[in-house]
């Protein structure tokens, strides 16, 4: 037998089907009990989160998996970790795999940090003796020596995350499964985490990394899988596959609203508008001018409108309406730049761009409608709704409006505002 490279992990035509029960079918005439009984024996809807996926990973490889939300990345990880079982196919794992799907898995709020190290450590698969041996190093890594004997319910979120990752960093799994967990904590801690993962790689451990952070994937992985609708559509070196993913995103096929993308163009014959002006192209772009389907919450985003003025002599004001996923009308922006304000445009092609500052939009998809109007007397030459969309994401890197907070964050906009605090000396006299 020839000495082949060791295969650590193999997916052989793996599929995962979820069954979604029919339940919210609101038939007022039916008694709730009857409705519930009905949902018991009506066949549920099927949803294939992963479909016929096959790949193999060699020992020591670092594999990244990318794709938009709902492409099946997390399902792959859950299958690998054994959290859920495949509906068809076979997964072979050669070695001790540890999954990091959430930092601080298995923490109990009433127990102290020390007790939780034992609890979480053994849930993640460490032997008690191993935990005892590594306890000091874990406390060191988390930098919480003075708090180790108080209940974790009194920890700040930063301490909680640090302790959680410190345990995970000491796991020494043969195969490490990482799901976006590096996106927590402050910058210094994130770097520390990345260093850990690199150290594991250098020790020849196999790593599977699932992330939206393409830079991290490119830096860490030597091979990337691109997933779409439960299938692997590309498999190769990071630069190549990431490029493919970006191209895919630009085409708009990965949007939450499949009919919309970050760019929309019209041909001469179907350009919306009237005898005065016609819309030709709308796109979402970054500061570098590149079309983007997703934007970092901290960066400005431009909405570029290209239009043909057919009849000169009108004052034309391009405008953009913003909506969120719930179709709530967020705000409207009008082009009021002094250079063109009140000044009629002559016939020709124009490109106007509205810049929405960074740290202003909220996380999630934003949908835009664009129009061109004359304001006084008011006349709308064209208005197209649902033209383009962009996904705003927060990479959780402390300098957004979130600060160190990583939980749910409400609100339709998310401005980063300045605060001012002073120590009040006359607090007692205000009674």
């Amino acid at each position: 037998m020839r000495a082949e490279r060791m295969i650590d992990l193999r997916f052989d035509r793996v599929s995962k089907r979820y069954l979604i029960p029919h339940e919210t079918e609101d038939r007022g005439s039916l008694h709730p009990w009857r409705r519930r009984l009905r949902s018991l024996w009506r066949p549920p809807r099927e949803f294939w989160a992963v479909r016929e996926v096959s790949f193999a990973i060699e020992r020591g490889e670092a594999l990244g998996i990318i794709g938009h939300n709902g492409a099946g990345k997390s399902t792959i990880l859950k299958l690998l970790a054994g959290i859920t079982t495949p509906s068809a196919g076979e997964i072979t794992i050669n070695g001790r795999a540890a999954a990091l799907i959430e930092v601080g898995s298995g923490f109990h709020p009433e127990l102290t940090g020390r007790e939780n190290v034992y609890l979480s450590g053994s849930i993640l698969g460490m032997a008690r003796s191993e935990i005892g041996r590594k306890l000091e190093s874990i406390i060191d890594f988390a930098e919480i020596l003075e708090f180790i004997d108080i209940p974790v319910k009194r920890y700040s979120s930063g301490m909680y995350v640090r302790l959680g990752f410190a345990i995970a960093a000491h796991l020494e799994p043969e195969i490490l499964l990482l799901d976006e967990v590096l996106a927590v904590g402050d910058m210094a801690f994130q770097r520390k985490c990345l260093d850990r993962v690199r150290a594991l790689r250098q020790a020849g451990r196999t790593i599977i990394f699932i992330s939206h952070d393409l830079n991290a994937v490119e830096a860490l992985c030597d091979r990337v899988l691109l997933m779409q609708r439960g299938e692997v559509i590309a498999d190769g070196p990071p630069g190549e596959v990431i490029g493919q993913y970006k191209a895919l995103a630009t085409k708009g096929t990965t949007s939450l609203f499949p009919s919309m993308g970050p760019m929309r163009e019209w041909r001469d014959v179907d350009a919306p508008g009237d005898r005065v002006v016609r819309l030709r192209r709308v796109r979402v772009c970054g500061e570098d001018g590149a079309t983007m389907s997703a934007v970092d919450i901290r960066n400005p985003v431009g909405i570029e409108i290209t239009y043909d003025v057919l009849e000169g002599g009108h004052v034309l004001v391009p405008n953009v309406h913003f909506f969120n996923e719930a179709r709530l009308h967020l705000f409207v922006v009008l082009d009021l730049e002094p250079e063109w304000r009140g000044r009629p445009k002559s016939a020709g092609r124009y490109v106007s761009t509205a810049w929405i500052p960074g740290n202003f939009l909220s996380e999630g998809s934003v949908i835009m409608g664009t129009g061109i109007s004359t304001l006084a007397p008011y006349e709308s030459h064209t208005y197209e709704k649902d033209v383009v969309t962009v996904r705003v994401f927060d990479p959780m890197s402390v300098n957004s409006a979130r600060g160190d907070y990583t939980g749910p964050f409400g609100g339709v906009v998310r401005p980063l505002v300045s605060w001012n605090t002073y120590v009040s000396c006359d607090g007692s006299s205000t009674r």
Binding site: M6, Y18, L19, K78, L79, A81, G82, I83, T84, T85, P86, S87, A88, G89, E90, I91, T92, I93, N94, G95, R96, A97, A99, I101, E102, S105, G106, H108, E110, L111, E115, Y118, L119, S122, I123, L124, G125, M126, A127, R128, S137, D140, F141, A169, H170, E172, E174, A188, K192, D195, R196, A199, L200, Q202, A203, G204, R205
Partner: protein, 294 residues
């Protein structure tokens, strides 16, 4: 900032022996042996989680572990008042408090383990969707915590027996057998109920009523002889309850110094032997998709 070098990852050894294959769930009795074997690898986790249960249960209560005593003693007092002073139940000359307490100690173990173990999966949904370990560990640790309470209760029972000068003979050595059957039965019940609760939360809601009925269908506050004259189909049904054989024989051997009634104990053993593997298979079946529906 000095980069810390406290963790050094050792290069992994070649030819690691642990190859694991994950397939769609297929259930056969042959797989059960494999499941049990894989449990032994998780001995550390079982220990830590069980210790954790006991610790958390008493952590923020003032009386702490004393609660394991207060509960059966309190019930003993109430039942003595009702069934001895009011209903005048005959107990073959044994003082009623110690008679009922002997039944209550194993029963409390059963009912506590069942109540807490039933919600084991549902109350750990965040773990179940994030980490893998054999899920039966969760309900099992509640049973183990129940054993801990049972040991405390038994020590108190021993003390009561010494004080009341109850004679003890070699038949008391049968008691561990009863406890083994009881534990196997609890495990089977907890596996079934906790798995069912993943889909139907009704199980948890119905539990107090079920336990109340079950307790009176078991010879705890009255001796087995009191129901000897039950009409036929009802009598058979009564004896099919595995708890009857366990509790009755626990009392016979510990308190009355008699050999076990093997006829009725046989029923408990038979039911348990059949139920346990079925329960485990059922649990494993639910487990394979628990993370998707919980």
């Amino acid at each position: 900032m000095p980069s810390d070098t406290s963790i050094v990852y050792t290069p992994r050894s070649e030819g690691s022996p642990s190859i694991r294959v994950i397939r769609p769930p297929s259930l056969s009795l042959a797989d059960l042996a494999g499941h049990v074997r894989s449990l032994t690898r998780y001995a550390g986790l079982i220990y830590t989680l069980s210790e954790h249960r006991i610790r958390v249960r008493y952590k923020q209560s003032m009386l702490g572990v004393t609660w394991a005593i207060v509960q059966p003693v309190g019930l003993m007092a109430i039942y003595t008042m009702i069934f001895s002073f009011v209903a005048h139940i005959q107990t073959n000359g044994i003082p009623y408090p110690i008679f009922v307490f002997t039944g209550l100690v194993p029963w409390t173990y059963f009912s506590t383990a069942l109540t807490t173990g039933t919600s084991a999966l549902v109350s750990h949904s965040n773990l179940i969707t994030k980490v893998y370990f054999p899920r039966e560990i969760l309900p099992l640790t509640y049973v183990i915590a129940g054993v801990f309470d049972f040991l405390i209760g038994s020590s108190l029972l021993a003390a009561l027996m010494v004080i009341s000068r109850v004679p003890v003979n070699a038949n008391i050595l049968y008691a561990p057998l009863m406890m083994a059957i009881l534990t196997m039965f609890v495990v089977a019940m907890v596996l079934i109920l906790s798995a069912t609760q993943v889909k139907f939360r009704d199980v948890g809601l119905g539990m107090p009523l079920l336990l109340q009925i079950w307790m009176f269908a078991t010879p705890i506050v009255y001796p087995l002889s009191a129901v000897a004259r039950l009409p036929r189909p009802l009598g058979w049904l009564y004896r099919a309850n595995p708890m009857v054989g366990v509790i009755e024989n626990f009392r016979r051997t510990v308190l009355e110094g008699m050999a076990p009634d093997f006829a009725i104990l046989g029923v408990s053993m038979a039911v348990t032997t059949v139920l346990l593997p079925v329960a485990y298979l059922y649990f494993k079946r639910v487990e394979s998709t628990a993370a998707d529906v919980i």
